[in-house]
Symmetry: C2
Subunit: 336 residues, 2 copies
């Protein structure tokens, strides 16, 4: 037994937020590291993946069961096996799994997925993780942009949006991004080479969006829901399609769904629109396809993979809160 | 010139309703019948087709231009050519067109579609009109129910809903109808043989709907929007589909779209739902297919075509108002 670690840091969800989430809802505890039992491994955490949907987990059942107070905050962790009592996962294996916010995790080996090391390692949680795969299947399988389409992407400077927008651009579409600041908008047009970008915090947001889409919108990749979705619906062209990927504008609020955008279902009928939701887990059988395409695009320097790395496990709660406030450009990851 | 008519009755939209529509918004005027010019015909009106969407035409642009005050109320009229100055339409021809609410119309021949007489003639406006074709393409082309699916249809005692629900039943689905009274619900289960029916006026509507759909809903054919759509979304099964055919709950109100149902887009994402709107005009090239299938079903006594005939052109405003209040079972038609 080569390990030399007795204590670990674990971040608990102390209390579920009634409305806005804050640092007070979390608690860092130092606890003893238990011995792994037969079939279990001890994993040293390297990186924690942060996603806006984690806030939605606290609101109720989503694509996973609701997260209740009193548990280590769940979430995807990439780490290294440093002690093993299961022959399938030797010491030194790189693994990912829903191990939650902790620097050392003792978990059943069968709950983990083994991953191959790459440079940078963080790409396993961005380009080749839920983020990249969500962007790929959402845009390429559900959205299917055609050359000449006008594609609108919200949260376009975010983890999924930044990749999805670039994929639409590669497909020959005119791509307009929505983000939450002028700095992000500049990033979208200057670095990611989108055709236009609009800030949803602009007081004349709707007019600005209309100006950015003079020929209407053929495909809207929606990460946010709410008023931005409503604005897009009013600007959609006939037979347009809406890919429902997320609803981040709705997550940091009291539990329970809020009213939907105006114009549903009237605008859907009159404009013959299609809205479709999806969850990346449904594509489990096709992950290699997504990873392969993404790898080619990265190798050809056609796809930039923005990442936003926060250092220190104790900063994880604030990093999630900041993510919900739109601090990040690209995939936010905590380096433990 | 064989005609013997000097005056005609025309019903004008005197004023656009600010909120609820009433008889005061219409005006019946007696006017001289003009001589048809070259290329025009004089049509004696036989039947006026009434549709809830006519109220939406007064709210703004829909699939047709907005209807403004001061014009003869538009709408589909079935009639007979009694005087012709166009060789393509001889006297005696049966024609339909957007001639509006009048007993004699002088219109360009090219604006009319010739129809073949049948018994009953009213079926040209129901089974073989916009109604039957909307039900057919909406249910069979967009909805595509499979044997074993649970299909929910709102306004199921209405013109389109009653046909769409029966088509789903013929496809082998379990069909639940929503209507606005116990009498209509009894009609749905007893006469149309639906598996269950629920009144949206039931105080415990959501619970009743849940009881009627213990295995959830796979396909929802939505004619109404609003709270009924919201209830259906909460009961949809994963990968369920919503056919957006109309939004009658929204029509008799002030112009401008109202908030959408709660849960959009959140429920669409989590349950991977698809919502799709359509307009029957898009199927112009396939009308013969719809009419042929409907004719077979009627001949085989598999499809009942409920009609609700109101007599007297002067009753047309009240007939539309009553339709919006849900008075009718099946297609409401005014016999002139």
């Amino acid at each position: 037994m080569s390990r030399n670690v007795a204590k670990r840091k674990r971040i608990y969800l102390k209390e579920k937020p009634a409305e806005k989430i804050g640092a007070e809802h979390f608690e860092l505890r130092e606890e003893d590291v238990p011995e792994p039992k037969v079939g279990e491994v001890l994993v040293k955490g390297l990186y924690i993946s942060l996603d806006a949907a984690m806030r939605a987990w606290m609101q109720g059942r989503t694509y996973r069961s609701e997260v209740d107070a009193g548990v280590v905050m769940p979430g995807l962790l990439l780490g290294e096996v440093i002690e093993s009592r299961d022959p399938s996962l030797p010491e030194g294996a790189l693994v990912e799994g829903d191990m939650g916010w902790q620097d050392y995790a003792v978990v059943p080996a069968r709950s983990l997925m083994r991953r191959k090391a790459m440079k940078p390692l963080t790409h396993l949680l961005s380009a080749y993780g839920i983020t990249g795969r969500t962007a790929y299947f959402g845009m390429m399988d559900i959205g299917r942009p055609k050359p000449g389409d006008v594609v609108l992407v919200s949260a376009a400077a975010g983890a999924v949006g930044s990749l999805a927008a670039q994929m639409a651009r590669m497909a020959g579409a005119t791509v307009v991004g929505i983000a939450g600041s002028d700095k992000k908008c500049a990033y979208l047009t200057e670095t990611l080479k989108l055709d236009a970008a609009v800030s949803h915090r602009d007081k004349r947001f709707f007019a600005a969006l209309q100006e950015a889409c003079p020929n209407g919108i053929d495909l809207y990749f929606d990460n946010v829901g709410g008023e931005v979705l409503e604005a897009a619906l009013f600007l959609m062209n006939e037979r347009g399609r809406v890919v429902c990927c997320g609803a981040v504008s709705q997550y940091d609020a009291a539990p329970g769904p809020t009213p939907g955008p105006r114009g549903i279902p009237g605008l859907l009928v009159v404009k013959r629109l299609e809205m479709r939701g999806f969850i990346v887990m449904d594509y489990a059988a096709r992950l290699a396809e997504a990873d392969g395409r993404v790898a080619s695009w990265i190798a050809e320097k056609k796809l930039a993979v923005p990442e936003d790395i926060v250092e220190g496990i104790e900063k994880t709660p604030q990093a999630l809160i900041g993510l919900l406030h739109g601090e990040n450009i690209g995939k936010r990851i905590v380096k433990i």
